[in-house]
Symmetry: D5
Subunit: 163 residues, 10 copies
């Protein structure tokens, strides 16, 4: 926890859009007062992946569930039942996002979308950067100008198949 | 040009949404057969910034305009007139994007938006990553699993001001 | 309370869109019959910031929570738990707003948006006025023509970063 | 012109949404290289009002038209014909705005809408701040923290009429 | 009650969009079997204003609340608490309206909107007819052609302020 | 022309949404400098109906066309051809309206829609006020409080047919 | 029941959009295992009208309520209370409809809308076919090509009133 | 032509949404002053089908084209080229329709959609009424109550296939 | 179950959009730990059809219900009551889909829609491929390039009926 | 060309949404009277891929362009210039599609989306079927029940990457 004071909790108004596991996981995280960075380190996964898992946007393996139960002090059988299925993604954030932080990411896509496409097409040919065979992480950098957030998106390049 | 065969050109159906400079710049780029990487190197700017400039999403300085005229073999007075104002951003890509490559970036925001927010809040406190005091670049990586596109987003962290 | 008769309370139909803290805070405010101006003075924050905090649009510091509990006569541990996270902003008002008072502000953006952009660009260059590093306040003025509401928006100027 | 280098011009992709006067006025402004501040001073109107007039969002009086023709070196009969009617407002900016500068103003309404309503209701009673009997201006402030844009909105308070 | 048989009641599917007072008022009205005309006469307000008040679209004064409690046989303290705040208007009817009666009014705006604007501008200059400093009423007329509903809209004319 | 100075003309950005007759009629009206009130008096129709006819929202009879040609000094054969068909209504104003004057009418429907329905149902039974078998007019009233616009909507009452 | 096996029941996911009467009526219909045709015959109304009444889209007379109570074996006082008001129509089906059967009707309007308008205008002049003074029924026809559903729409012709 | 005075022509604002054949056909129809009924009789097709063909919503056979050229006095080779392909349906009417006549049909679907579904399901089982294997016609009826438009929709019943 | 580890369960956030049967069926499936393939084999229906039935998108025959009760160990009378009606289809997935897997299918329609239309029209004439008289299945193929999902859509060809 | 009479041509109302190559290719195809099947055979690509290429949804290799010029009798330099870039996909069909044939495909996604997801997840685990590394084809089958269109979708299975 970089700013040393607070962890993320689940906004009550979001609960209805998320799977039942979200509330269980966030409640346990709150009562243990753990950051995603701390959970990620123990779990052996990226902190973004852990947060995504909490919001129902990433899958937990059987071993993840066992470890999470232990890290969070949550009943394993409840976690197991609530995380049994395959994630039903994409329901948390309204689009366009109303949350200012998330909107800034949306704005980057809106403003630079065609620039990314042109540069990626020139570098890789006709295809896409996968959002599935994909990893991402967040770093903090500090320099003379101030503090910077750095988000890295890394996706496999998939060429359109000729047929 | 990584794939050695093609450069990005301007789709004719996009022209009506873009400033007049877009057609001038893309036409000149096509007749010189230059990639954004090549233009960026000569101009001393990132290739994504150059592509954004072509799509009317970034500002050209007076010196940029002079150099672009020379690099592209385009009449400087035309470029000067067409690039005189301040960019009117955000009009190229419909949202949600219909283009598959751009949609994948949108999907990343849709799926991971709250995860980014939670991790950024824990790392930096209450605020946003700026999309204005912001730079971005695109890299290619190749490993055993295949070819990867890596997009880096770097924005100044802006805390909400207390009042 | 300028008109000497009423304070703002929470419309029951809004509750589902807001964090749990909203109901707690508004209920306590109602039973103490306090205006935002009165709370703001005791808390040492702007009355608009206090109202924003009540609607889940601004963060409360640990000290704010302690003071609020005392000012409002609300249990500190409940407030603490409900205000523990980072605000998930932007969910209260539908857009376009249906509420006439809020719609008028929206209409100002719709009608004068490009005029503000042109004037700000000429005064400051290519950039934006931050809505994050931002403060705002509301004043009342009375003159021969009648009564006037004056809203001041003050945001840091952020130039687009060249890259 | 605060940054001493550039004036606002009309983005060609906006022309189809605006009345014919917009192009005439902006073209003349560009060829005279005048800022809105300069035009406003000569015309005796606020620079925001002048920009709004250029974008078809404010009315020009017969005297305004005469003066504008002289200030801009534009044919008075053309201006007269193109500015003859009553403004058909609200068509320039798509809502939600895609332009980042204008979006920030929209976001202020989205995030602080209910806070403004609560504070205004407590200060003035049940009513609205008029966007018609309304003036606005833009100022620049510089302090230790940096440069600030300050937008003031001043509208007559209209109470809901009892019936 | 013109047709002598029925009074308006609250559709159960609307309740979630309305303030808590709506259900209290409509339930009491139903058990007293009172029309809005009858309530309006006793209250000394227009029947449309009374219906608007029931739907949360108009404010009740302290005296209105006292009278309503007596007319409707409803507990004054409940009404007082539920009607304490300022109306949060505009949430009852989806737009475009799906209800045929309300849609016809919407269609009048859609079809005659510019005609009203042209005629009002010619009669009054550049401005609007206020919907805030506004009264309205409904009359029934019968002639040889049949039965007619007559809705009168009366709003203060507000000229755009020059600045 | 109540304010003695200006008549309504056709905004050039509206032309593409309207039938060809709109431009012909408005151009002729402008060159004759006639108000809708003046045209209406000579034509023997309401000024709102005339404005609606100009915007393609009302039908012109053969006699109307002959008279309009004479009043406006426009070629009868052109008017005849352009007004030959049946109006294709509803395309001028975007909904929700962006024009502030038209928006106020929309807001009246949004805020008072259910109140009108309740009162009309109680007065007339289950049915609608027709927007087809319908007339409307605009009046100006001046009293101590200021100037008022009064719009009257008069439509035949149509009961739902039992089957 | 033409196919001899099943009757229509109320989908549980629709209940929240409908008045309370819908559940009461459909539950009773289900426990009596009655088709709309059977109910319609006993009630003396068209089966489509009966189904519309069940979905809250048509009014029940006092006599209808008495008969329905008897036909369905439902408590008359509950039906009376739940059917006391005027229908609040148009809330059952989302538009565009997602249900394939209802979508086909929507598609007919989308594809043939202007053809109907042209033919109706030529046959009847400038006006509309009323959807209020309107009846409809459904028939089954069988011929060599297969089985056909035939829906008849019969509405009073309403000419636009000249004013 | 029932009302003896006018035929339907093509609104100029619709042309951009329709295939090139629409203008050719409507222009020829106008110069021959033919109703769809008259054309239908000569062509041997329903007048609604003919109108649909004119609006690009129905296919013309090679023989239809030959006959139309003769009936309308239009060059067969132009018609042949413009009607060569397969109709690209559904682009004429915006949905929801803004035209009052077409809106009434849309409202019938909105209000009675589920009633039709319930009755059709009970009569035919699980399936849909086809809008493809479909015919329709328009009739005029006059009785004591007035003039009625009767639209018949006849579509093949398609049961959902079990798999 | 191809990957040997997990079965699909019902996301709790979807329940409100689905008929009551969905929860009953999925709960029983989960407690029996059965895949759709296993259920389909026992039931004698395609696994896609079974999944569609669970999501309320396909009809169960009386015999299906009996078998499902036995396969799933669920009470037959509950299943019978919950599956008594006709499916009210189309309410599970928001459109455009937010779920990445479902979005890919949507994208195929968006990108290849006109190509399918052109090829189908050339192969079959003017008509559609039915989605009602329709079957579909899913297969897995493995080759040198990797693992492939193959979805087959098979629908009856319906020619537009000439009239 | 299965029905022996017609080939697909480009609807004139679609041209503005498509790249310039679309008109060139379709015009040449029309003047040579070639079906996509015929072109596909000569080009050595699937007929769906060829149609997609014509609509700007698939890339042409340098060799494709040479062959197309020869097959279609079109100037190679024009084709070369117009097909030089990377496809800007997804702009032809509005979503939801208004064209009945394309809508049926959309409806399949709407109705069966979650069923496909459940079955694919059980067969392949957590991932998606790629729409990029993807091929598709269309076949015609005739059996006792009639004529069937069969569309096969074949996409590489992409598992979500664990991180």
């Amino acid at each position: 926890m970089a700013d040393g004071t607070k962890i993320a909790v689940l906004d009550t108004a979001l609960i209805a859009n998320l799977p039942a596991s979200a509330k269980t996981l966030f409640d346990a995280k709150a009562s243990k007062n753990l950051s995603f960075e701390a959970i990620g380190k123990e779990l052996g996964r990226s902190e973004v992946a852990v947060a995504a898992l909490f919001y129902g946007q990433a899958q937990a393996s059987a071993e993840d569930i066992k470890k999470l139960a232990s890290i969070l002090g949550a009943p394993e059988n409840v976690l197991s039942a609530q995380l049994a299925g395959f994630p039903d993604r994409g329901k948390a954030a309204p689009m366009p996002p109303t949350e200012p932080l998330i909107y800034r990411l949306y704005e980057i896509v809106q403003n630079y979308g065609y620039a990314y496409k042109a540069v990626l097409n020139e570098k890789f040919g006709d295809g896409i950067m996968s959002a599935i065979s994909f990893t991402t992480n967040v770093e903090k950098e500090v320099d003379d100008e101030g503090t910077w957030a750095v988000i890295t998106l890394r996706g496999k390049w998939l060429p359109f198949k000729r047929f």
